[in-house]
């Protein structure tokens, strides 16, 4: 059956837990290419270099009434009194749901930027940016 995916199908999981009140996520994959053109050639040629994956997500700053606030948990990857250690990676799954089928991109990443704001007349939210370390751990899109 034909299917157009929308934000209604989107999910974000951190550490295997589906996050509450996610308003958007995005992922960018990039491949660095290394030029191998030599003198006397008329077309540029390349070999593949390293891959890079980065992205961002926004979560409403929301308390579900049981003390769970996923935005706060994500913010605490950087907003903390101690320093960030090598082991402070997060396991992310960027998901589009189609019935019982999940189309996932899984990666291990460092949270690299967080923005946390409150404005009159607006819902408070947290924006996080992440950068993958190592290869993608799963692609089922």
């Amino acid at each position: 059956m034909a299917k157009v995916y929308t934000g209604r199908d989107g999910r974000l999981l951190i550490g295997g837990t589906e996050q509450l009140k996610v308003t958007n996520w995005s992922l960018t994959g990039a491949l660095e290419v290394l030029e191998t053109t030599t003198l006397g050639e008329y077309q540029r040629s390349y070999v593949p270099g390293v891959q890079e994956f980065s992205g961002s997500a926004s979560l409403l700053y929301y308390n579900n009434g049981s003390g769970r606030n996923d935005a706060a948990t994500a913010l605490k990857n950087i907003l903390k009194t101690g320093s960030v250690a090598d082991t402070d990676t997060v396991s992310l799954q960027l998901r589009l749901v189609e019935g019982n089928t999940n189309h996932d991109i899984s990666l291990t990443a460092y949270i690299t930027d967080v923005t946390y704001s409150a404005s009159v007349g607006e819902v408070s939210s947290a924006q996080i940016s992440f950068r993958a370390t190592g290869a993608l751990t799963g692609v089922t899109i």
């Binding site: 290394l34 030029e35 191998t36 053109t37 030599t38 003198l39 270099g49 390293v50």
Partner: protein, 128 residues
């Protein structure tokens, strides 16, 4: 083992000069004495960008074979070698037209940019 038969990504050539001694008087007049009939000290710099490590190793092997900067050697003249891409006469950027031969001016510089891929810079100098 001959010099690696690879076309560089970029190349620069300094044609050197004849052995000339210049004397300048206090009034500004200049006297030059020509001490030889052969131009020498030409310099050829070759950059090989993003080549395989196996090809980069060829330069290290050749450098070892020439005992570093000690021995002189000839460069391949073909279009697939270090003079490839040059549309003029190949001997114009060579050393032997003036009775010279190239030797390494210094060790080849190898920079690895990712697994299996390296860039190499080779500096040669023509000597009589």
């Amino acid at each position: 083992m001959a010099f690696p038969d690879l076309v560089p990504s970029s190349r620069s050539f300094d044609p050197g000069d004849y052995p000339i001694k210049t004397f300048k008087a206090q009034n500004g007049s200049e006297v030059r004495i020509l001490y030889g009939s052969n131009r020498t000290n030409m310099k050829l710099s070759l950059n090989y960008v993003n080549i395989t490590d196996a090809n980069a190793e060829l330069f290290l092997d050749h450098y070892e074979e020439t005992k570093g900067t000690f021995s002189t050697f000839e460069l391949p003249e073909g279009n697939t070698g270090p003079k490839g891409g040059w549309g003029g006469n190949k001997d114009a950027i060579g050393a032997n037209l003036s009775g010279n031969a190239y030797r390494y001016e210094g060790p080849p510089q190898v920079q690895q940019v990712r697994p299996g891929i390296s860039s190499v810079t080779v500096n040669l100098i023509g000597v009589l």
